[in-house]
Structures are given as C-alpha cells and as structure tokens.
C-alpha cells in the first residue's frame, strides 16, 4: 500500500497507485506512488519529522503542504534546500534531512533550545556590533549550527540543462483555483489568448481538496466542470506545476516549470493567487502534527495520506469544520473543535459536526501542545477559555490528539500584487489587508481580492477575466457583474495569538522567532515593522513572511498603539518562491566571433586568446615554448616575412558627398585634401577631449573612405558616428563592414616578393605603391583592398578580402610564402613589434582621461579645422599645464626586471603615472616601454622611478621612440 498511513481511493486524486516508486530518506528505503511528493511519501510511511529548525533544531514537519514554508526543506542528492512538499519523488532519489548535528533523530543541535535565553533577539547586532573581532571565533560555530542545506563544493559540479523560453499572451492568469479558472474562461470567451499558470499538478486549487458543502461534492463537481470547459478552449494554455515568481514592469512574468524559466509577457494579468492560511500562536505550535487545516486536507484528498489518527481542530471559521468533516471521512477521530469564537454560527458544516457528535468548545484557544518524547510528535493539547484578546484563563482542559489543525484565518497571497505596486488597505470587516488600488493592466480575482465564498470567487474571476481581456483589446459580451457578497467576513480571526510564559510560541517558524522575541525587539526601539523585520529577522527566512508578516504587523500595532489602517505588511519583493541559480543562468549565451582563418590557426598549433568577443592567435606552437615562439615570430617579421590575421580590426565604409567633411568632424586630423589611393592616420576623441580610438582612413574615391577602427572599439565608434550624424544631417552613409572583411598583414623585408606572386593587376614596387599607398586589386583571384600600412614597422601590406573568401586568401598566401618560409605570427609578437616602434594601443596606452596632449599625439591634431569632436575641449586642455605625459623608456640598469603594465611611476612618494606597455625587445635586446611620467621628466635622458613587483624601485630612462628603426626607413623600403 506504499505506506501505513495511506487511505483507499477515492482519496489521492493526484497519485497513481499502479506505479510504485522507491527512494531513500536518510538512507532508509521509502516507497511511494507516482504523483507523490517527498513529504507525502514520508508521511504515508510514518516519517513525521522532515527537518530540524533553523536555530533550536526543533523537529518540524508539514505545515502548508503547498511549498510555502521552510519546514520541508531537504537535501536531494547534491541539491540543497528542496521543498519536500513540492518535489515529486523519482526512483532512486537520495533524500537527506538538513541542519542537524550527529543524527537526524538524535540531533545534538537541539540542545541550543536550552540556552535559548542566551540567543536574544538582535543577537548578531548585540554580540558583534561592538566587538567585531569575536565574530571570527563565532562564525564557524554559528554557520555550522544555523544553516540550511549543504552545497558540496568538492563535488564535480556541472550546470544541468536549464533553459529559458519566452511566452506571449493577451491575458496571463496566475493561479488556477476557482477564480483563476473562471477568469481564464471568461477572458478566452472574449477572444483573448490566455495562459493559466498554476502550481498544482492540475488546476482547481482549493476545489481539489477543500470542503465547500457538507458532503464534499460541490468542490470536485465545480472543478470538473471548469476543467472540461478549459480543455475545450483552444485559446487557453495551462501551465501546471508552474510558479510565477514575480510581476515586473509591463507585465513581465517569470514562470518556473521544471528546469525551465519562462519569460511570459502578457498584455494584461489576472492575479488569482488565492490566500495563505495563517497560524495561531501558542506554545509548541511548531511541532510535527500541527499544521494548517488546508495542509491536512491536501494530504488526504490529493495524496491519500492520513496526517494523524486523532485530531483537534483549532478553528475560527467554517473551513475548520469542513476540514473536520474531511478528517472524519478519512477515518481520523476528531477529539474536539476548539473554536476561538464565543458565538459559533450554526452553519451547515457546524450542524453536521454536531450530528457527528464532535464536541465544539467555543470561546477557547489552545494554550499549548503537549510534546511527546523527542518532540517528534504531539500527544495532546491544552484548551483554555479566552479571557480577552490573547489572554487565556488559568483553567484548561487536556485533549488527546496527535494532530492539531489550525483554521484561524487567511492572508491574501498578494506578493505579485505587491511587486506590481498595488496599494493595500486594512479591511476592518475581514481583518485582512485587501488590494485597494491596482496598477494599470493588472487585475485581481478570488480570495486574493477578498472573494472567499466560492460563488463570489467564481463571479470575481469572471469579472476580472472579462476586464483583462478588454484591457488586452478583446471585448466580449456584457460585463459580468461583480459578486455582491464576498464572504470575507468571519474567515480571519483578528488576534489568534496566545503567548505562553514558557515561550516556544512561534511567530516565525523559518527563523525560530517566538512572541517574546518580537516584543523584545520592539522594546529595543525597533517599533516600526520594517525596522523590526531587519532587527529580528522576522519574515526574512525562506518563506519570506508568508506566515509571519501579518502576525508581526498585529503585534507591532498592539505594542505601539498604532492603527492597522496606518500600517502595512512589510514590502514583498520578488521572487515569490526561491529560484535556483540554474534558472537564472539557463543556457549560456556568450557570443564569440571567429575569423575566416580560425581553423587554419588551430591546424597550425596556435594558442588562441580572446580579444573582445573575438578569438585571435596569441602565438603558434606549444605553450611550453611560448617565449621561443614569440621570439622567432618577431625575428621572422624583422628579417624575413610573416603573416598575421587582422580580420578582427574594425572596418567602416564612409560614403557620400560629405564623407571627407564627416571624417573631419569625427577625427582629429584633416581629410578634405587626402589623396585618393592614400591612407591617413585617424585619431578619435570624445566631446571631453579624451582619446577613444584610432586607425587609418583609406580614400578609395572622392566620396569613399574605408576607415579602420580598433577591434574592441569599432562598435562604439560606429554608434557614435551615427549618433552625431543624426544631429548633423550630413549627406554621408556609414556602414560597419567589420565582419564582411577578412584581413591579413603580410610584413617583413620579403613581403613584397611573396605578395607579388599572387597579386594581379597592381604594381607593388616602392615607387608605384609607396608607404601609406592603397589600391583595390585581386589577390589570388579574390577582390581585395590592399593598404601599405604597418603597425610593426617593416615593409608590409594589409590585404582585406570578403570574409567568405578569407580562408582561401590565407591558403593562397601561405602557399606563396613557402619559398621564403613565411611564418604566421600572432598577437604577442605583434605587440612586441609595435612597441619596438613605439606605436600606442588606444585603451592600453591610453585610459578614460587621456588627452591628445598627454598621449604625445599633438602631431595628429589639425588645428585649423572649424570643428572636430573633442576639439573645443582639447583647446582648453592645451591651455592648462599637463599633469602627466606618455614617454618611451628603457631601463637605466639593464639587469633590472621588465616592469609590467600598470606598475606605478613615482616621483618621491607621489604616484605620477604608470607603465602602460613594456616588453623585452628581441630585436634590440633590451626592455622598451611606454609610461606616463611627470611633465618635468619627459625629456630623453631623464630618469624616473618605477615600483615593480615586491615594492622594489627601478629606474626608467626616458628614450626617444621609435626605439627600433627611428628613421622609419624599413617600412618605407
């Protein structure tokens, strides 16, 4: 029967008795049925204790049976903090209890309860605010004692397959209880596309388990009727076992179902999330066997599990009587109904109770539950007459029971409405906070909106669904009438709080907070509910105040004499239920860009490095021979010929009658008179005169410039260009053609010989194609843009071809370079080569404040232009004395270590600059670098201090650059 506490059919509408499933709890074999969750299977097998509480390690068990409390948090395999009353069982699941010392049954941690008085409210604040050092000693102990599950950091972690998916709807209905189902149907009738999100295995909500009439048929019949209607609607999609965790701007709804996070966007939303039962406060109100009446009904009806054998019902509404009837039907004896009300209305349910011979003890409350051995079950309850709000007379009656059901009231499950910015008002009639003014495109229906009677909930749902559909642009038939009698009166007791002089009367189960803790917190001066929350941590546990927020407000109101009308429950923030990192992460979408020659580099043994989103070869060869590879690549370029993939370089086609004027405005140099077929350096500054990018502009036509930009800067450059011209309205078109062109730079004294072999229709001789020359021609039969530019300071050509033919270009050039043993070279060698030439890299040798003057780039500024971006600021900067300047340097003492980027430049003890680039130059056999130094130290021959690793100071020697080939003869060969 898969458990000694299992009831026969028709109990258990969500389980499939034909499928048995075995799993383990604390190493013990447990058998359940398909459809069971961990908690229902455990209770069916008599395992009542499911967890140990946070602070006092008290035994805990099912409270809500709806995944709304932290009593059922368990470890499932390597996954901590799973809700046992949500997580379905699967064959072989390994479930462990959490937060115990020694063994779960004999938890040594439970003795903290004995030292309870040494753990006052505000413990952390009081203990560690003044003596921060003692935290270090206490931290490991506290962390070990007060914890939840364990993340095994030594385990072989892997990101399981989680993903995300967008969903779109006219109307999203959150909550599939009677109101939600009615709302979905009504919206669908109006023609709206509806998504109904429901936490249950099947929609129905309370219709699935609660008692709406004496014989218990009304709920299930209504549920069947609505379910059938929903199934026939093609424009309703139901997401079951799904939870909506937030309501964000423009109706953006995260919905978690299994390993998927849906991102649901709806034109309008109906929040029909129902309400959450609230506990009564009395001594030992937290122990296994004490649960909400709704939880017991869920256990019985949905899972066919008997929660106990003998029940006492603590009631303040008719639902408690319904629950009592349900227990009787399930063969559970009901010792008595202890009713907080003095005058119990003789409803049909109450009359049925009388007929069944169950004693109704009116005007009483439970003073305390009697704990059995180890507190893992209860053996009885003491009922006492209520003398006044929260006060009980000394007399009392002992009632035998192993189960106490609490049915003393509700609080709207209004979290999503809070997220949306709904205002709430305290309703004196219902003793609840009800939604007062709803934001646009958000509607509320059912008990979250105070419609408690079933007919009222259905009517309210129909009304909200109709309104939501209309809001989404679908007008149906006549507007359904609002319910006249909500039935919200008499379901919630205003003060179900009965503190006990011996304590253990919990207000917050998550955080083990007792009545006295809150009173002491208020006495400590935290007499505002938001302050008290942070000081006492009430409502800050995993269930986020679902069962404690209302009680906390009531207690603060009473203690301070403040009116409930002027207060509110603490702010409810997303998520409604805990979300996993896996859901946040989903699939990993991290775009990466590869050049046309990417695989050729891999075939050649390149070590790849990221450059923005791109991958580039760092050097070719095994990692163990990195330095040698770089040295040889440098040498190949200096003495022979090398080939580098420069496809990642940004490329922009700037075309139109105003192309030259546009470049004049965007860059510091002058372009109006640039000759066709020639390249010119470009340097960009922003409006504040800060250097932001550089490259070259190639003029291919009077109205066409091909402009390069840095790999990481091109997208921003492109965006800035479009932004400026959105204002200037010049007749120019800018196209970002970065991805469209693959490019190589063939460099070295023998580069001309190699290129000549595959280059048709263009004379590459020094006279016909000088340094900074450019042409369109065919290379290896591929249309190419050829530019004689060089970052590396040798004879060299940059060849840009359509990206789809980039690999073919590479193949052709590599074949052509075979005779000369041409060597591919990577970014590392290029960095050495360019530094030997003293070429700066924008964003490495410049930063977010660098001006053209600081970067020693005054030569690149055209001073007579009417305007360029940053020009006005540059003028102002020029008038002010510099505070630093970029210089080339070598080391005064050749035996000193090579400084690294960002090593500080000091003048005395003052930081005046930093090293931006430094490398040991194989060509010159010494360290060369660039650094910002004090303006008084910029003359060649001056020395300055560099603080290198370990705090050692070495001397930099200011040196004129280019360091290599200072007269630039080699690149002009």
């Amino acid at each position: 029967m898969a458990g000694m506490n299992r009831l026969p059919a028709p109990f258990g509408i969500w389980i499939d008795r034909t499928q048995r499933i075995s799993f383990t709890f604390e190493g013990r074999q447990i058998e359940g049925f398909a459809g069971d969750n961990i908690a229902s299977a455990l209770l069916a097998n008599g395992q009542t204790m499911i967890s140990r509480s946070f602070k006092y390690h008290r035994p805990r068990s099912v409270l809500t049976m709806a995944g709304q409390d932290s009593n059922t948090l368990v470890q499932v395999g390597d996954e901590p903090n799973c809700l046992a009353d949500k997580r379905r069982i699967e064959p072989g699941l390994k479930v462990e209890a959490q937060n115990y010392v020694g063994s779960f049954d004999d938890d040594k941690g439970r003795f903290t309860e004995l030292v309870e008085r040494f753990l006052p409210v505000g413990f952390y604040y009081k203990s560690f605010h003044e003596q921060k050092k003692s935290w270090r000693a206490w931290e490991p102990i506290i962390r070990a004692m007060a914890g939840l599950g364990k993340a095994d950091l030594k385990a072989d972690f892997h990101h399981s397959y989680y993903d995300k998916q967008y969903l779109f709807a006219d109307v999203a209905v959150i909550g599939g209880g009677p109101a939600g189902m009615a709302a979905a149907l009504s919206a669908a009738d109006s023609g709206a596309e509806v998504i109904l999100v429901d936490e249950g295995a099947e929609p129905g909500g309370s219709l699935n388990y609660a008692r709406f009439n004496v014989d218990g048929t009304h709920g299930s019949l209504t549920c069947k009727e609505l379910s059938v209607a929903i199934r026939t609607k093609r424009n309703i999609r139901v997401l079951s076992e799904a939870v909506c965790t937030g309501l964000f701007a423009d109706n953006w709804l995260p919905v978690i179902q299994g390993n998927r996070l849906y991102k649901l966007r709806a034109k309008s939303v109906v929040v029909a999330t129902g309400s959450i039962e609230q506990p009564a406060v009395f001594r030992n109100n937290d122990l296994p066997g004490i649960m909400f009446a709704s939880a017991a009904q869920r256990l019985v009806r949905l899972y066919a599990v008997k929660p106990g054998n003998r029940a006492v019902i603590l009631a303040a509404n008719d639902d408690g009587y319904g629950a009592a009837l349900e227990m009787l039907d399930a063969g559970i004896a009901v010792t008595a109904i202890v009713d907080l009300r003095v005058d119990v209305p003789m409803t049909e349910m109450a009359q049925a109770m009388r007929r069944a011979g169950v004693e109704i003890i009116a005007g009483h409350a439970i003073r305390e539950a009697i704990a059995g051995p180890g507190k893992i079950r209860i053996t009885g309850a003491i009922a006492a007459p209520i003398a006044g709000d929260g006060k009980l007379t000394d007399s009392g009656r002992s009632l035998e029971c192993d189960l106490i059901l609490m049915a003393v009231g509700y609080s709207p499950a209004a979290q999503l409405l809070h997220h949306a910015g709904t205002k709430f008002a305290y309703d004196t009639g219902s003793h609840m906070y009800r939604p007062d003014s709803l934001p646009a495109h958000v509607f509320a229906a059912g008990s979250v909106n105070q419609a408690y009677a079933l007919d009222a909930a259905l009517a309210d749902g129909r009304r909200a669904g109709w309104l939501a559909a209309r809001d989404a642009g679908h007008s149906g038939a006549a507007e359904p009438p609002a319910p006249t009698d909500l039935g919200s009166g008499g379901v919630t007791h205003p003060w179900p709080i009965f503190p006990h002089e011996k304590g253990m009367d919990f207000v917050d189960f998550d955080e083990d907070l007792k009545y006295k803790d809150l009173i002491n917190g208020i006495a400590d001066g935290f007499d505002n509910v938001e302050l008290l929350k942070r000081y006492s941590t009430v409502g800050m546990g995993p269930s986020q105040g679902k069962h404690s927020a209302v009680a906390a407000v009531r207690i603060v109101a009473r203690e301070t004499g403040e009116s409930l009308h002027r207060m509110s429950v603490t702010t409810q923030r997303p998520p409604y239920t805990p979300e996993k990192f896996g859901h946040m992460a989903g699939r990993v979408f991290e775009p990466e860009r590869r050049t046309a020659m990417h695989h050729r580099h891999l075939e050649l043994g390149a070590q790849m490095m990221p450059a923005g989103l791109w991958w580039r070869p760092a050097y070719y060869g095994p990692k163990s021979e990195r330095d040698r590879a770089i040295r040889e690549e440098v040498s190949a370029v200096r003495n022979n010929v090398g080939l580098i993939d420069v496809s990642t370089l940004g490329g922009l086609d700037v075309r139109g009658p105003d192309a030259a004027e546009f470049l004049n405005r965007m860059y510091t140099f002058a372009y109006a008179k640039q000759q066709i077929g020639r390249c010119r350096y470009v340097l960009m500054t922003d409006n504040a005169g800060v250097v932001t990018d550089d490259g070259v502009a190639v003029r291919f036509h009077d109205e066409h410039f091909y402009v390069t930009a840095t790999t990481s800067g091109v997208d921003a450059v492109y965006r800035q260009m479009l932004w400026w011209n959105a204002q200037w309205r010049l007749d120019v078109d800018v196209a970002n053609v970065t991805a469209a062109y693959a490019g190589v730079n063939i460099a070295g004294p023998k580069s001309r010989e190699v290129l000549k072999r595959v280059c048709e229709g263009v004379d590459l001789s020094g006279q016909a194609f000088p340094y900074m020359g450019a042409a369109m021609a065919e290379v290896a039969g591929i249309p190419a843009r050829i530019m004689r530019v060089g970052f590396v300071g040798e004879l060299g050509y940059e060849v840009h071809v359509p990206a789809s033919q980039g690999e073919a270009l590479w193949d052709a050039l590599m074949a052509a370079g075979g005779l000369e043993s041409m060597r591919p070279f990577g970014v590392e060698a290029q960095r050495v080569l360019r530094l030997e030439k003293g070429h700066i890299i924008v964003s490495q040798d410049t930063d977010g404040l660098t001006s053209v003057w600081e970067a020693d780039m005054a030569w690149a500024v055209a001073k007579t232009k009417p305007f360029f971006v940053g020009g006005r600021s540059a003028e102002i900067q020029a008038k002010k004395p510099l505070t630093r300047k970029l210089v080339g340097f070598t080391l005064a003492n050749a035996s000193d270590p090579c400084p690294e980027e960002c090593h500080l430049v000091l003048k005395g003890e003052e930081i005046v600059g930093r090293v931006t680039s430094a490398v040991h130059s194989p060509s010159l056999n010494k360290v060369v670098g660039l650094a910002y130094v004090h303006p008084s130290d910029v003359e060649p021959g001056k020395q300055f201090d560099i603080k290198v690793d370990g705090g050692k100071r070495i001397k930099g020697l200011v040196t004129k650059y280019p360091f290599y080939d200072p007269d630039n003869k080699r690149q002009e060969m």
Partner: protein, 242 residues
Amino acid sequence: MASLTNLDPATLKRRSFIYRKLAAAGAEFAEVNGGAVAMRYSAPAEDEIATARRMALADLSVLPHCGVKGRGTVEWLTAQGLAIGADSNKTYVQANGELAARLAPTEIFLLDSLQGTGQLIGKLNAAWQWAPGAPRPQQGYPTPRQDSHAWFMVTGEKSPEMFAKICGVDLRPRQCPVGTIAQTSVAKMNAIIIRADLGSTLAYHLLADMASAEYLWTCVEDAIAEYDGGIVGLAALRTLQS
C-alpha cells in the same frame, strides 16, 4: 551546377564559416555561387523533408545575398526593375523569387531565391558604380552583406517555439505574417529574422554576423533538439518550396 560527388568546400574560394561542421554532419555539397552549399545529408530524402516540416536548420551562407543602403537606395533599385513597397521591416518578393528586405527606409537586404542563380544580384553588382561628376545622383551604396552575414534557414512548425528560447520577439504565425522582418537579438547576437514560408511549411531566414556563425549554429542546434529537430540540406528546402 556541379554534381554531388564529394565536393570539398575548401577547393572553392567562397566558403561558409561552418563548412567543417556541415561536412562532419555528413553533408553532400554542390557548388553554388562559387561556394559549396550543403545539399543533403546522409538520411533518406523523404526523412529530411519530414524533418524540415517539423523543425530544421539549414545553412545557405554561400547563396547570393547583398545589400544596398543610403540615400537613393530604393529609387535606384526601382530603376533597376525591383519592386519595393513603402513599409520598412517588410520583404518584397521579386520576379524570380528573390527577396528584397526593407530594413529601413533607405536600406535593402537582398536575398537570392533558393535556386541561387545570382542573376539579379550579379546584375545589380555590375550596374552600381560611382556616377561621374558632382553632384552625383543619389543611388545608395552597395553593402557587403554576402560576407557580413551568415544565412541560415529555420523551418518547420516548431520554429516559433524554438525561436522563443533564443529570441524575445513573438514569431508565431499570426503575430508574424509572411514577409515580416524582425531585427532583434538572437542568443544575445544582433540578427535579422524574416518569415518566408516554403510552400505550406513555416520557415524563417536567420541572418547574423558571419564571424559568429559557429556560435549561432551551435545555439540553434541545441534549441531545436527538444523538438526532434535536425539539420537539412538545400535540396529539402527546394522540395518544400516547389
């Protein structure tokens, strides 16, 4: 068109950035537009067609595609015989099945038909040149879309659901009629999606950064798996269209 006898894509100058992946999946290639296009894979033709109806991904990157943008674009293309409507983010079908996608008032992305003859695009490429003198007539400027954009096709009834995992725009048939363009973010990349059904089969062109072709291909392959999707060749797409 060459026969399907084990054409090695690396023997041609124009190469899809993912030809190695296609070859590894068992593609049989044919030469189109100076490049190798995957015509079919090892599965029987009817299975591939069934996959394409359900959920499939195809690479058309070597097929002719180009762009024109800037002032005068639409006027010039109209003068060249193209028919282009007034709305942006709509496509306009040309005489031989080419698609002129109007990305903006002055920007056209032109996709050849699945035959890939390149006739119209070849004609346009030959026709555009700098007019002499100044001021020149406004005629837009050619943009190298052939090389800036990988061209994938996503087909099958599950396409909208699949896209919903990598893209935030609602592409369901009713919300995204044939000819609609969505310029948006796909798997965190900028991309252009164009609804262009093949016969009665739901289908979308997916155009995105060539340099990220491998990344995007991998993302879509992952996303289609849930729907029993697969990769298909151009032959299956042509069959569906005819």
